[in-house]
Subunit: 249 residues, 2 copies
Amino acid sequence: MTKVKLTIEYVGTDFCGWQSQQNGVSVQDTVERALGRYFGCDFVRIYAAGRTDVGVHAVGQTAHFVTDKSVNCYKLCLGLNAYLPSTVAVTAAECVGDSFDARFGALSKTYCYRIYVSPMRRPTLDVNHTQVYKPLDVQAMRLAADKLVGTHDFAAFQKSGSNLKGTVRTVNSLDVADNGDGTIYFWVNGNAFLYNQVRLMCGLLVEVGKGRYTLDDVDAMLGGVKLKFRTLPAKGLTLERVFYGEEQL
Amino acid sequence: MTKVKLTIEYVGTDFCGWQSQQNGVSVQDTVERALGRYFGCDFVRIYAAGRTDVGVHAVGQTAHFVTDKSVNCYKLCLGLNAYLPSTVAVTAAECVGDSFDARFGALSKTYCYRIYVSPMRRPTLDVNHTQVYKPLDVQAMRLAADKLVGTHDFAAFQKSGSNLKGTVRTVNSLDVADNGDGTIYFWVNGNAFLYNQVRLMCGLLVEVGKGRYTLDDVDAMLGGVKLKFRTLPAKGLTLERVFYGEEQL
């Protein structure tokens, strides 16, 4: 038996998300069928580090699968990419030890939320950025981001309707990168996130940048107060990288 | 009469290029019809800084038009963008003096050619980058780029079949930016370019980076020797900005 770790990149626009769904084409199904074609069966079940929502992109999603066939990882990548649509590719494959688990072994994940600031649409950025119409106070956003870093009860930072009990999570880092070309990237690393947590955190930062909410409001929200603002659209979010401990690889 | 300068951004993938063609939808037609709809006529003729080929993108294409209607430039942008498809937008509009001419007044243009170096496809980059499979010698490419800067006879740097007589052009700058994330950008500024000149110059740089051609070969090509290599695909090329003299605006 061979266990293989895959790194998968995709443009999420036309998928119903990572996970198999009754309606729509998922990235998971797409990769599982490509693996099936490669190994000469219907499909090969894969287990990902985490689901990504409909419309969310990935540069470094990870997944594993098990096979009793022998695997040449480089040829596997090239073969799979020939079977995958242009919006999905396997960018790396490596044989891993039996203890590796793409989901339960993940120590942390890095996401990037991309925005551009412009009163006018930017067609070349629209696929993976969200438009913000008016200038933002980057320094205020950085101070707010600093408040979100650490271990907090993020109960107010989950999709409304969610009723998860354990809502304490750790945000290891949250950096606001002003790229000087009208784009601003929010880089977030954490061990695990609640449903919509990253998009709600970045959405709050944007509201602080607009001056609509203050640093005190960030504290209030960390204290459980649900502030009203729009959840940022999925298309600005990209799962950039999943980190594993050395012993896992 | 009012003369208006437009800055236009587009994803060139699904267009037959800037210029109106019998087959296919051009960016020019698309913008002319949106202007027509805005001003209540069939179309308004626009004059661009230059054509872009099928599949080439633009962040800062410029064009002008003349109207006898009064124009509020901000409202014009918003109105046009509502009529334009998601792949095209007017990012700026300004009223200019009668002497302004988007084409003949252009002092120089900056293009960027984007590549990524990876044996595997990168779906999130594919729309506006060209894939190069093996690592490149960036230092060698920089030395080759330096040779291309200046006023030269670029006769060997035009689409085969072109038989233009005046082939002397000036390249003001050609910078090789290694972004450290697997992407390399070639930034080119010049007063005017031959047909396919930018893609052929960048293609030669890639060949030098691969070690297939040397700095002597660059000299030979500047001396008129046609070296054989593939013309880089259109999708990696973006017209970034058109520069005008102060007196034009």
